[in-house]
Subunit: 326 residues, 2 copies
DNA sequence: CTGAAAGCGCTTACAG
DNA sequence: CTGAAAGCGCTTACAG
């Protein structure tokens, strides 16, 4: 049914080696032979079998990417950028989320189903990342691990957080809560550092109670209410994600969360969610698409750099504080 | 570095054929040999090279899935279900969106980078689907094509639409607009049919002007305003997607769209977006995860059914009308 | 500039 | 129940 290099070779009256060379743009092929081969390829509608090529080249030409979840527009943007970078590189992108068992991804690498792994999310702890990094190309998105030499793409979370909190302070907010992520990831720690820096510059004391660490959406309301009922007022919120912020907005509206309607809220991500809520959300906009794009490019560089500079590249992308109604 | 069947065979003191048989659960292997092989696999930490297996089996063990976009929670749900169905089947899922050139997907099939294709979205016109279906396993999500024998998973769009419009009529709405999708896909046509049926049963005339066909989000406002300004009132809207509905809500709030705040709105999909808007949106909830799950299962059946019943299966899943604030 | 040949790491008729 | 051997469809030193 499908024709092979053998048939192309016969038709073009050359050897399979020459056909392969044409397929791989080998400069050494004489022009006349190249033409004959290309014609034969056309006539036979030949499509190279990647299964064979992959085995021979010992590469799956596949990259696997781990995401924190599907239901997050920031993630969607990143994937979009990743797909764009994959483009016509000849590589395929396999995407999965971290609710899969972690060893699925390791297995993909072990069994040659993927050549490298891009990790978005704090799915993998430091030990896993370190272990992977010793054997396979690894690129991180949005996070990094102190002490591991890795390529990654992310924004400057500390500065972004500093700017957001400074904005709230400028408006007159005095009691600002940071609703942080559940894991001590680099983004959480850096945002925490930016938060502290902004308070310090304003001459305000840092109060650990104002760092809220919910295990899930539901807990946000619980923890914030607890704070308020203990006599600690809240007039500003830095939310770790748009999803957190939309949830807070909803709970305020439904009066489950006992905060004023006009509490200052700035969330991270700045996806389209911040525009469809009512009121619309102020946010630190992350260049999600760019992050995904750069992450894949870093990986493609790694995969194509045979014995070139091994130095890992860090790509820091620009964020933007966008003020909307909160 | 990596050990191969050859090394396992040597260590277990059997032939590579026997190793392969153990790997493939061939019952004919004597228990003692099976044990020896399994031990050797353990000791050598052997991982089979899928590149070789795929070539030999003439299968990539990969499925490609085409989505309409990334930024849509309904799509996210479908992908989540698809991933769950893939589970530990040994297959990988490659996902892409329809803004890629269509021939990328055909090329994946042609070059053995994928064994079958799942099409969500009306990315492919009938001719393309028909052509693909002649050569490769195809499964459709949410849509089907009249006259092509295909497996697909979807809800009963006509009944769902009928129920939504009936609900609006029951509330007293008389002038109901259907903001339809841009393509004459089966879902659009069926929803249109349900819309008409509901009107007919209520003794109301069908007015083609009340079917709005925006090319993009921005056009919704333009087209609806035009209708209203031409003296055709609007008191109910059936929206083709949650995204459309959230956009409508936003434009009403910003007074760009000249409709009353309390216009009845029911949207399709019923993703989490319908809960975070203010007011929250009434919607036909599609079982997105299930749809993705079933689609992948249909595909896996096709790929594993060597010479079994060729009859294509249709999976119709239950929808649900959920009334919220609109 | 080209071809014959070996080989990537598996699986599977075939013979015993 | 098992092994020797062929082969999946490519690529690539090697020799010329």
């Amino acid at each position: 049914l499908m024709s092979s290099v053998k048939e192309v070779a016969k038709r073009a009256d050359v050897s399979v080696a020459t056909v392969s060379r044409v397929l791989n743009n080998d400069k050494s092929v004489k022009a006349i032979n190249r033409t004959k081969v290309l014609e034969a390829i056309q006539e036979l509608n030949f499509k190279p079998n990647m299964l064979a090529k992959n085995l021979r080249k010992r590469a799956s030409h596949t990259i696997v990417m781990v995401l924190p979840s599907w239901n997050n527009p920031m993630v969607a943007g990143t994937v979009k950028g990743a797909q764009r970078a994959i483009g016509s590189s000849g590589y395929s992108l396999i995407i999965g989320t971290s609710d899969w068992q972690s060893d699925i991804y390791e297995n993909m690498l072990n069994t040659n189903r993927a050549d490298g792994i891009i990790i978005f999310s704090s799915w993998a702890n430091k030990a896993i990342v370190q272990k992977l990094n010793e054997r396979y190309p690894v690129v991180l998105c949005n996070e990094y691990y102190e002490g591991i030499d890795l390529a990654y793409a992310a924004i400057d979370n500390k500065t972004a957080s500093y700017e957001a909190v400074s904005e709230l302070l400028k408006r007159g907010c005095k009691d600002i809560v940071y609703v942080r992520g559940a894991i001590d990831s680099s983004s959480v720690l850096n945002r925490l550092a930016g938060y502290k820096q902004a308070l310090a510059e304003a001459g305000l004391a840092f109060r650990p109670d104002y760092i809220i660490k919910p295990a899930n959406h539901q807990q946000i309301t619980e923890l914030l209410n607890k704070l308020v009922h203990q006599g600690m007022p809240v007039d500003g919120i830095l939310a770790h994600s748009d999803l957190y912020a939309t949830h807070i907005l909803k709970e305020i509206k439904e009066r489950a969360l006992h905060l004023k309607h006009n509490v200052g809220i700035i969330s991270f991500d700045g996806s389209y969610l911040t525009e469809i809520t009512n009121p619309s959300l102020s946010a630190i906009v992350q260049p999600a698409e760019q992050i995904g794009f750069e992450a894949v490019n870093l990986m493609l560089q790694k995969l194509n750099n045979t014995k070139q500079s091994k130095k890992n590249e860090l790509v820091i992308l620009a964020h933007k504080l966008v003020i909307r109604e909160t």
